[in-house]
């Protein structure tokens, strides 16, 4: 089971910082990340985020868990940029992706989902006038975070079943049950939400 992006309790400065501030930093870094154009600048920014993990008291394993799923993407993007723009540009582009994912991970690992949702609902509040259901958007965020380990769990079970039947080479034998079981889970979750009065 994955612990990707899930809250890890703690009392560090990063944990205690208001969710709104952390989200604002994430958005701000995302917005200005295109200004980083040397490996030195990107390296410094990544270093600062790693320092954030240290201050938050998170283990190196937590950090690696955030970065590991990116490995193939970073290799592919990096290889492309090495061929087209050279090493320096490849380091900048892959570094910026890593920076943003690590920073997003730091925010979710140190902030309760309810705090994130409440902040989002507050920020989106004024948009109610133009028909945006802020609570629904907040719930969508919570469900998205909650669904990550569920879908990973389903994927692991499907892969085990595939191995047990000697079908590990078949993408179809993997994708079809994964999609069907994920949809079934979504259906059951919808029913559970209705039972808990979410539509009321």
């Amino acid at each position: 089971m994955t612990t990707l992006g899930l809250y890890l309790p703690g009392s560090s400065l990063v944990h205690r910082a208001p969710a709104g501030v952390k989200l604002a930093v994430l958005v701000a870094v995302g917005a200005v990340s295109f200004l980083l154009d040397t490996p030195w600048q990107v390296g410094t920014a990544v270093g600062l985020v790693v320092l954030g993990y240290v201050v938050a008291g998170l283990s190196p394993l937590s950090l690696l868990r955030q970065a590991r799923p990116l490995l193939w993407l970073l290799l592919a993007v990096g290889a492309f940029h090495v061929l087209v723009d050279g090493w320096a540009r490849a380091l900048v582009v892959t570094g910026v992706i890593l920076l943003l994912v690590l920073l997003a991970g730091l925010v979710t690992l140190t902030t309760r989902t309810t705090e994130l949702v409440e902040t989002l609902v507050r920020v989106l509040g004024p948009l109610r006038r133009i028909g945006v259901d802020a609570e629904r958007v907040g719930l969508l965020l919570a469900l998205s975070i909650r669904s990550v380990p569920v879908v990973v769990g389903i994927a692991e079970e499907v892969r085990d079943a595939q191995r047990a039947r000697g079908l590990q080479g078949s993408p179809r034998a993997y994708a079809v049950p994964l999609v069907i079981r994920s949809l079934r889970h979504a259906d059951a979750l919808g029913e559970a939400l209705a039972a808990r009065g979410v539509d009321d």
């Binding site: 089971m1 989902t113 059951a188 039972a195 808990r196 009321d200």
Partner: protein
């Protein structure tokens, strides 16, 4: 009091419940039957998850079609698979989720959540990711998340099917101690011991309605 007045339900051409007419004032009501007999549809009628194609369902005088919101506040529902019922990433957050629209201060809400977690022996797991709990703990969390809203009726659709015997007995033990009216669908027939009344469903009909011993004997004969 649950009142089911001549209720039928169909999914398109397929009739899954046929003319069920029953009043349930008892505190402990069991529901048994083969797979596909209509028992899950029956209990889904009780909090308005399913609306009757014909007939009417009322809970404490509230009509599930007309007063769905009020009915759902009074009738908590627990599903077979707790993974599908747990909405929030951590244990504490999932229990608090049910209280999000209640008018209370954060302190009051935290106290309620803490109390329920302690009651279900989940206090030490409050900030743990819900998906890392054991199967038994997940079902207890699902139960805690429903009971924190203090419903007057608790409906459970096969809550012990995915659990081992020890955890099934643990869940049954918690159900025993509840003040709420409990309607329990189960294949674990021993959990019905001490219940006031048991309904047996077969092929979309309520075919038997009696004491646990008598109903279980009837069901065993039916399945033989």
């Amino acid at each position: 009091m649950i009142e089911v007045d001549h209720v039928s339900h169909s999914y398109g051409e397929r009739v899954v419940l046929r003319d069920v007419d029953v009043r349930l004032p008892e505190r402990r009501v069991g529901v048994i039957g083969a797979n596909g007999s209509g028992k899950s549809t029956f209990v889904r009628l009780l909090n308005g998850l399913v609306l009757p194609t014909e007939g009417r369902v009322r809970v404490n005088g509230l009509d599930t079609r007309r007063d769905g919101r009020a009915v759902r506040r009074q009738v908590g529902f627990c599903f077979t698979n707790p993974d599908a019922q747990i909405v929030m990433p951590t244990v504490r957050e999932d229990v608090a989720f049910g209280l999000r629209r209640r008018r209370m201060t954060g302190t009051e809400r935290d106290a309620l959540v803490r109390g329920v977690l302690a009651r279900f022996e989940l206090a030490d797991h409050a900030d743990h990711p819900a998906h890392l709990l054991s199967g038994g703990q997940k079902q207890l969390l699902a139960l805690a998340a429903v009971l924190v809203t203090d419903p007057s009726v608790l409906v459970l659709d096969e809550p012990t099917t995915l659990l081992d015997l020890r955890n099934a007995r643990k869940v049954a033990g918690y159900l025993d101690g509840l003040d709420q009216q409990v309607v329990l669908v189960t294949h674990h027939l021993e959990l019905l011991e001490g219940f006031d009344r048991v309904l047996v469903f077969d092929e979309a009909r309520l075919v038997h309605d009696s004491t646990p011993d008598d109903a279980v004997a009837f069901y065993r004969k039916l399945m033989a």
